[in-house]
């Protein structure tokens, strides 16, 4: 492995409200430009891992550490992490009625570049170019963020944000869920294009199924069960999981207390 971007060590996290432990000692390392997949059954904690990495207030880290590009990621606020280049493509993107995608993205791109006034025309040009790259209609940017969107539209909107914000670490939380095969192909093609364009972007694909991995090929695959990474391997591990399911790892997990 070359230069490291993300090093997670013994990460423990609980639901802030009731103290239920979800992450029970996650260890994971990602190099710059690598594509990793975290696979696991429902309830294994893989979505929680993505949220904790972004600083979701519903979770509290109780132990372990996360180094991101040499910084202690856990000390940063949600928005600071984003400005440092951590991006989460949401499994369930949230509606922001009355706010157009264009205005939203403009604010987000501006937030990434404090101190310089974002030129509206440069922004427009960039937005249109990104939308062309992702085969999106320009009118899409005029719609309110996720308001009344189909599942596919929501996911495409996440990819557009990924394209505009140019993160160093893209966490893709079940980006394949709820998509038909055509929509999945479009979304996967978007991820591939963006990665080809910026090969230093690291991608963490969080998924239950292997099908996303047929379209975006990971360098490393990790199996997560009951809040821990229980096995890591190459792309062939995904094939094996597809064939045999998670049954094999049932007992590999730390027992529930």
């Amino acid at each position: 492995m070359g230069e490291k971007l993300l090093v997670i060590e013994n990460l423990h996290a609980v639901v802030a409200e009731d103290g239920t432990e979800i992450l029970r000692g996650v260890d994971l390392e990602m190099g710059v430009g690598e594509i990793h997949a975290v696979m696991g059954p429902n309830g294994s904690g893989k979505s929680t891992l993505a949220k904790v990495l972004c600083g979701h207030p519903a979770y509290e880290v109780t132990d372990g550490q996360v180094m991101y590009s040499g910084k202690n990621l856990l000390e940063l606020e949600v928005d600071e992490r984003a400005r440092e280049g951590v991006f989460l493509a949401f499994q369930y993107p949230v509606d922001i009625p009355g706010v157009s995608i264009a205005n939203f993205l403009r604010a987000a791109v501006q937030a990434k570049n404090p101190g310089t006034e974002l030129d509206i025309f440069d922004f427009q040009e960039m937005l249109l170019e990104r939308m062309r790259l992702l085969d999106m209609e320009p009118s899409f940017a005029e719609r309110s963020v996720n308001d009344g969107f189909s599942g596919g539209e929501k996911k495409r909107n996440e990819i557009l944000q990924l394209a505009m914000l140019e993160p160093r670490l893209a966490l893709m939380d079940e980006t394949d869920s709820g998509l038909d095969i055509d929509a999945l192909k479009v979304v996967a093609a978007g991820v591939n294009k963006l990665h080809a364009e910026r090969p230093k972007m690291s991608v963490l694909l969080i998924t239950h199924y292997q099908r996303m991995l047929n379209h975006v090929e990971p360098d490393h695959v990790h199996v997560m069960v009951n809040g821990r990474i229980v096995r890591s391997g190459g792309p062939e591990l995904a094939q094996e999981l597809e064939a045999r399911g998670y049954e094999l790892y049932k007992d590999a997990a730390v027992p529930v207390s």
Partner: protein
Amino acid sequence: MPQNETVTGLGLEEYKYGFVTEDKPVFKATKGLSEEIVRQISAHKAEPEWMLEFRLKALEIYRSKPMPAWGGDLAQLDAVLDEIYYYIKPQERMERSWDDVPQEIKDTFEKLGIPEAERKVLAGVGAQYESEMVYHSLKKEWTDKGIIFESIEDGLRLYPDLFREHFSTVIPPADNKFAALNSAVWSGGSFVYIPKGVHVDIPLQAYFRVNAERMGQFERTLIIVEEGANAQYIEGCTAPVYSTESFHSGVIEIIIKPNARFRYVTIQNWSHNMYNLVTQRAMVHEGGHMEWLDGNLGSKLTMKYPSCYLVGPGAHGEILSIAYAGPGQHQDTGGKVIHAAPNTTSQIISKSISRGSGRATYRGLCKIYEGSDHAKSKVECDALLLDEKARTDTFPYIEIEEQSASVGHEATVSKIGTEQLFYLMSRGLSEEEASAMIVRGFIEPIAKKLPLEYAVELNRLVELEMEGSVG
């Protein structure tokens, strides 16, 4: 351009337009209200006898009516009303050219951005400073079309018959206590007349501003839109900060003749110690179309319910309102639609935002009289709470006497949610930026109906109000 000076030491620094220019009134009545004051006002304006009679009668009505026992808390108001000046006239004559306007008053306008607005081809500006119009311009083409856009005083002086025929026909003094008070001491405001069939594309605009301590502002506006005419009127105002209570009570009367269309836009941003009690009503005749667009920010208490009286078949009334109640503020706002003819239609959309100890109340009436066959009304009120302490109430009164009428009512209350904030913050927006964006989105359905510069101003005002709302 001078920077805004903020009045400090009053704990009200947050209020951005709280600058004060030294004022040199030409005439200032004594504090408090009396028959003598009313006579002085009328004499000062050299009014016809009938107007003096009208004022005196209104004063009697005002005194005979009790304080309203509903709406906001008016317990302190009597004391306030004893302490205010009921009339101040800053200048003897009306100014027609910008060059003639005294520097001090220009400074005030400059702080409000009026000169820019002017440069941006605002078609006509009637700006009210204290109680009188001091600056008034109107594009020549409008004058050529027969449009009248004058101060209310000039309306009475120059068009006595037209004025008398319509004045107080929509809101008589006995309508409510504050309409009576305004009728007794009104001063300043606009007189607008749009002749038959005339269409005006650029909105008529009036800025006005209260700028004297303990001064009540009793502006009075009368608008007549003749058959088939179409126009839009915009009023925006801010008031400076003072440590004593302030009071504003306007009356706005609009007459929409058959098949005429009119939109009245207000954005009010009063200083946080202001009582703002306004009566505004439109009488809409056959096939007429009236739209109120009302933004209420600031003030200590606002009680304001723009109304449409739909008195001719097919008349349509719309009331769109936004209220923002910050800590210590109560916005008691909404709308009234009265259906008194067949096939009349109406819509009320009310959006409120409350924060801290702020309280937003929606109070609305939809009344459908018997015989208003197939009348239709839709009421929608949405409240957004910015934190746990904020409060909102909804009082939708619906009275239906007509079997064939249909009325819909929807109300929603939402809180800025953790998930929404997290989503926006995960894109790099600060918590404050994220909250402001959610609020902007919430008011967008109404803001988008405003001319661009007003939509921008509304958003900016909301953002100013939200400063310091996080953490």
